[in-house]
């Protein structure tokens, strides 16, 4: 089994980057994705990133930290990150784990996430 082969694709649509995480990420892959997304923001000048995690069955403290870290880092680069589609079981577990991810924007689905980013950009 070669996990290195799996690279998570980042799609650019208009001003936004869309990332859908569909594999159970090991730690290095998560960090690699973080770097990749930040580089894409820099390269494309995107103003917002939607990260869909609706198929993720588990988010532990490491992946949680990578996700919230990514939001803070992107914010410094003037891009907003919205985490989309978290499963209820994952949300309950994260709260019990002690990771409430304050300051991270979330949306129920892609459409609502997109709306959220649009509203934010219009205000700015």
């Amino acid at each position: 089994m070669d996990f290195n082969e799996k690279r998570i694709p980042i799609i650019k649509i208009r001003d936004y980057l869309i990332v859908s995480i569909q594999v159970d990420m090991h730690d290095r892959l998560a960090l690699q994705l973080q770097t990749q997304i930040l580089e894409e923001i820099y390269r494309t000048g995107s103003k917002g990133v939607l990260i869909d995690i609706s198929t993720l069955e588990m988010v532990d403290s490491f992946i949680g930290r990578v996700l919230s870290g990514m939001a803070s880092m992107a914010a410094i680069m003037d891009a907003a990150v919205v985490i989309v589609g978290m499963q209820p079981a994952v949300a309950i577990t994260l709260v019990e784990l002690g990771l409430e991810m304050p300051g991270v924007d979330t949306a129920l689905n892609m459409e609502l996430g997109m709306e959220m980013l649009e509203k934010r950009l219009n205000k700015a």
């Binding site: 069955e57 490491f62 079981a89 309950i92 002690g98």
Partner: protein
């Protein structure tokens, strides 16, 4: 070495080595499969998978790996999944401190051990300096 021993009535389901990051992913997926098989609900499946993921990562980053035993047995009259993580790492100097929210010795967020404890029904830990650490978690249906 350490005093955590398996009960004779427990059934060993799987033994997984944790030697690299892929093993962490593989082992936590195996744990989820067994949790599913035991009939746990989706939230409990996620709780136990997340808890063991924290433990496996600790083994990997502090003790450069170890071994995981996945067993099942009856605890308090309930069918229970029992996961034991055994490493031969440096050991934990102050367990009480390691179990405190927000404390970390390795640059993490310090939610690993105390967080994992909140996600399971029973949590046992024993450690000896320079010999290793054993952590056992149990989750029942």
């Amino acid at each position: 070495m350490l005093e955590i021993v398996s009960d004779k009535s427990w059934e060993l389901l799987e033994k997984c080595p944790i030697l690299n990051e892929y093993d962490i992913v593989k082992a936590r997926q195996i744990v989820r499969e067994f949790a599913k098989k035991e009939g746990m609900g989706i939230v409990d499946q996620t709780r136990i998978t997340t808890a063991v993921s924290e433990l496996f990562r600790n083994m990997f980053s502090y003790a450069s790996g170890g071994e995981v035993l996945i067993e099942k047995g009856i605890i308090e009259e309930k069918p229970t999944l029992i996961i034991t993580c055994i490493d031969k790492g440096p050991g934990i100097d102050n367990i009480e401190l390691a179990m405190t929210d927000g404390y970390t010795s390795g640059g993490g967020m310090g939610y690993g051990l105390p967080g994992a404890k909140r996600l399971v029904d029973r949590f046992e830990i024993s450690s000896e300096l320079n010999k290793g650490t054993t952590v056992r978690v149990m989750k029942w249906k």
